[in-house]
């Protein structure tokens, strides 16, 4: 994770050097880049309350109604993790999921979908909310926003629709590497932060198996422990003898694969059973 963060900083330095070099050669492009960068940084560091409200409106979150069950859990876990108690919202969605918004620890928001509340039992829900509280404690929204600015600059530059020759010769060569390298670094960092939040959840609840159970249930298709009976499946089993599901290209995933997350949590479950110290 430190290496990825360092590479993000190197990317920032490269942008700065590029901008300085441009100032001497083509000052109008340099000004353009500076303005875009400034605007992006300003936009992403809007007061946290305003930003989270924007996010909440964008995903169509219900007001805090019906969120008593997850809110009580979040209050308890936030106190335990020593972070300000986040607001908890329930969003209507058929997909069981949860996420955290808010750049600062204070004013953070946890959003859970109603499908998540329906599909998890209390312990599993606690493990998922503990994962989100760990994101808040680790300041992941802030870190990820900082790390994704190079990628956003790249995106802005590449999506420029003007037909000027200058666009092909200067803007694209600037934007593409920023977009490519920025994306890979941001995604790598995101995967590390997910592992860290999984670990945080296991420490907060003391039961890594609850998050494992919730993850296999949420990740659903092709992963979950079945409720079907061994005797009832008959010949269908013969057709399923080859393992299903391929993995996407690992560099382009924002979350680590379920197997890796389960394996790390399983290692924690084993450590918990061992005697501490000599």
């Amino acid at each position: 994770m430190l290496l990825t963060l360092a590479l993000v900083l190197v990317l920032y330095a490269a942008i700065a050097i590029g901008v300085i070099a441009l100032l001497f050669t083509a000052s109008h492009i340099a000004l353009y880049v500076i303005i875009v960068t400034g605007a992006l940084i300003a936009a992403t560091s809007i007061h946290a309350g305003g930003a989270t409200n924007l996010i909440l409106r964008a995903v169509g979150v219900e007001s805090g109604e019906g969120a008593e069950r997850p809110r009580a859990i979040a209050e308890r876990l936030a106190t335990q993790a020593d972070v300000p108690v986040p607001s908890v919202y329930v969003m209507e969605s058929a997909a069981p999921n949860a996420f955290t918004a808010g750049l600062r620890r204070g004013g953070a928001v946890i959003v859970v979908t109603d499908a998540l509340l329906d599909s998890l039992d209390d312990r599993e829900l606690e493990a998922v909310i503990a994962h989100e509280v760990a994101h808040i404690a680790n300041r992941d929204a802030g870190v990820m926003t900082f790390a994704s600015v190079p990628r956003m600059i790249g995106e802005t530059l590449v999506s420029d629709q003007s037909n000027l020759y200058i666009f092909f010769f200067f803007i694209w060569p600037l934007g593409l590497p920023l977009l490519g390298v920025g994306s890979i670094l941001t995604l790598a960092l995101s995967r590390y932060r997910e592992f860290a939040a999984d670990r945080g959840s296991a420490l907060l609840t003391g039961r890594p198996q609850d998050l494992m159970s919730a993850l296999q249930r949420i990740d659903g298709v092709g992963h979950a422990i079945p409720n079907a009976d061994l005797r009832g499946i008959g010949r269908a089993e013969a057709l399923c003898i080859v393992a299903s599901g391929g993995t996407r290209f690992a560099l382009l995933r924002d979350h680590p694969p379920l197997e890796q997350r389960l394996a790390r949590l399983a290692a924690m479950a084993r450590e918990q059973g061992e005697a501490i110290g000599p």
Partner: protein, 191 residues
Amino acid sequence: VRLLGLRDVLFGRKKLAEPRDDRLFSLTTAAVTMETELGLKPAGAAAVAFKPQSSGEFRSAFDEIDQLVEAVAQSSGSEIERKSDEFGFDWIIVRDPQLEDLVGAAHTLASEMTAKGFGPQLLAAMFRFDGGEHPVYWIYGFKRGAFWPFVPLGDQKRDNATELELKAKLEKELPVEQDLTRWLALFDAPV
């Protein structure tokens, strides 16, 4: 985990997989960890499920196997019970306080059925452990040669968290099925 042979892929599988009973015995060493780390003790009961055939050939072969299992059980002081379930499977239930004897009986039954050519009829062996909130089962799938945990909560529900904890803590010493989608349930089993 066995891979499909090229011939199986090209021509399709012609028969069911032969059973593997060689890994059954690892349960006896894993039982030590189960007791020290999870407080779970063998409940003194195990069962093997198989699909009976109506052919006379199967019946006569099975009578011989049944007698042998009975003889083995008598020498180790185990009790044997037979049951059928609504899925059309027959169960041989063994009761004995010694886990070694339970595993031994399951192994005898499986290897005899295989020797007589009825190995593919074997479905699973099931070993019960008590001491937690709910009874814990290790199911051994003969086709895969692997164990998976099963913690039924009643009402056709199961405790996935405890099952995953069991996998985490025992997969170093027990061949645990890694594909979670194969952890099929055996609800209302007779043990």
